[in-house]
């Protein structure tokens, strides 16, 4: 199965890239685009025969050990 993990900086952390993207979009006339924040998406394959619990446990463990720095980031597994 294909897994997608969305990682973003926590809300209280300054995300300067989003601010610059917003400025550029505004310059292009997209004035309705506000509060832009950029994150990252990690996609990976896991074997189909894993139970939901096994899958959740493995993803959670990989996020905590490497993929996510929980001091500054939070993550969400996209369905």
């Amino acid at each position: 199965m294909r897994i997608k993990i969305l990682i973003r900086l926590k809300n209280q952390i300054l995300e300067p890239q989003g601010k610059v993207i917003e400025q550029s979009l505004n310059n292009l006339g997209f004035n309705e685009f506000n509060n832009i924040r950029q994150g990252k998406l990690i996609e990976l394959d896991l074997p189909d025969n894993l139970s939901k619990e096994e899958k959740d446990q493995k993803i959670d463990s990989a996020c905590k050990k490497l993929l996510v720095n929980n001091i500054i980031e939070e993550y969400e597994v996209l369905g």
Binding site: L14, P16, Q17, L66, N69, I71
Partner: protein, 226 residues
């Protein structure tokens, strides 16, 4: 007994050679250069995790290097109360390992900063004991992710436990900024609670020799050896 030290090299480290020369010239003792895939670290007084872009800064600066094989021994080295110094990318690696608190995020102004900066010590420890109160040091920085962040509770404990070693300050140039990268409380370097581990963004190994603009970086090794 002579002072022994080691520099760890990761793929993408680019200040390891400077760090080796810095240690050789200032400690006069033996300096090991250890590849990150080595399983063990010789017994030394000081280990430097050097600057650079370990593993291309993939995922997050320092994230991959913090899982390297040699890191188990680096942690043991630190747990034995020996000195560990992370410079720039080395500081980022130390926060990713969890040996130092907080995290280093992108500079506030989105610029890669490569220039001289000015720092002074905040709380005394063995890494800065030869530096006078209010003495301003000129030491270069070269980083994109040097903006120190931690939550309020951690900040309080860093202050209460006197773990803030260096802070950015205004220097002799009229246009010098007080806080170059947006770090909380202009923090440029912190220690662990026991104060045997220091992480700092400025590069003291680029400010010690006669051919450098400043020799203020000497003071860190002089503090450790004295």
């Amino acid at each position: 007994m002579s002072f022994k030290s080691a520099v760890i090299t990761f793929p993408g480290s680019n200040c390891d050679r400077d760090a080796l020369c810095y240690l050789q010239d200032l400690t006069k003792g033996f300096v090991y250069n250890i590849w990150h895939e080595e399983a063990s670290l010789p017994q030394v007084d000081l280990v430097i995790l050097p600057g650079g872009f370990s593993f291309g800064d993939y995922l997050r600066s320092g994230a991959m290097a913090s899982k390297s094989k040699i890191i188990n021994d680096v942690i043991k080295h630190a747990n034995n109360d020996r000195y560990l110094l992370g410079i720039c990318n080395g500081f980022q690696i130390l926060t990713e390992i969890g040996l130092l608190e907080g995290a280093l995020i992108q500079n506030k102004n989105l610029k890669f900063l490569g220039k001289n900066c000015f720092i002074k010590k905040k709380f005394k420890n063995n890494f800065n004991s030869s530096i006078k109160e209010d003495q301003v040091l000129q030491i270069p920085v070269a980083h994109n992710e040097g903006n120190f962040y931690c939550d309020n509770e951690t900040l309080k404990s860093l202050n209460n436990n006197e773990q803030i070693a260096f802070e950015y300050c205004k220097g002799e140039f009229s246009n010098s900024e007080e806080n170059i990268n947006g770090s909380i409380e202009a923090i440029a370097g912190i220690t662990n609670k026991k104060k045997n581990i220091l992480g700092m963004m400025p590069h003291p190994e680029r400010a010690y020799s006669d051919f450098h603009q400043s020799q203020d970086g000497k003071l860190i090794i002089e503090s450790l050896i004295s």
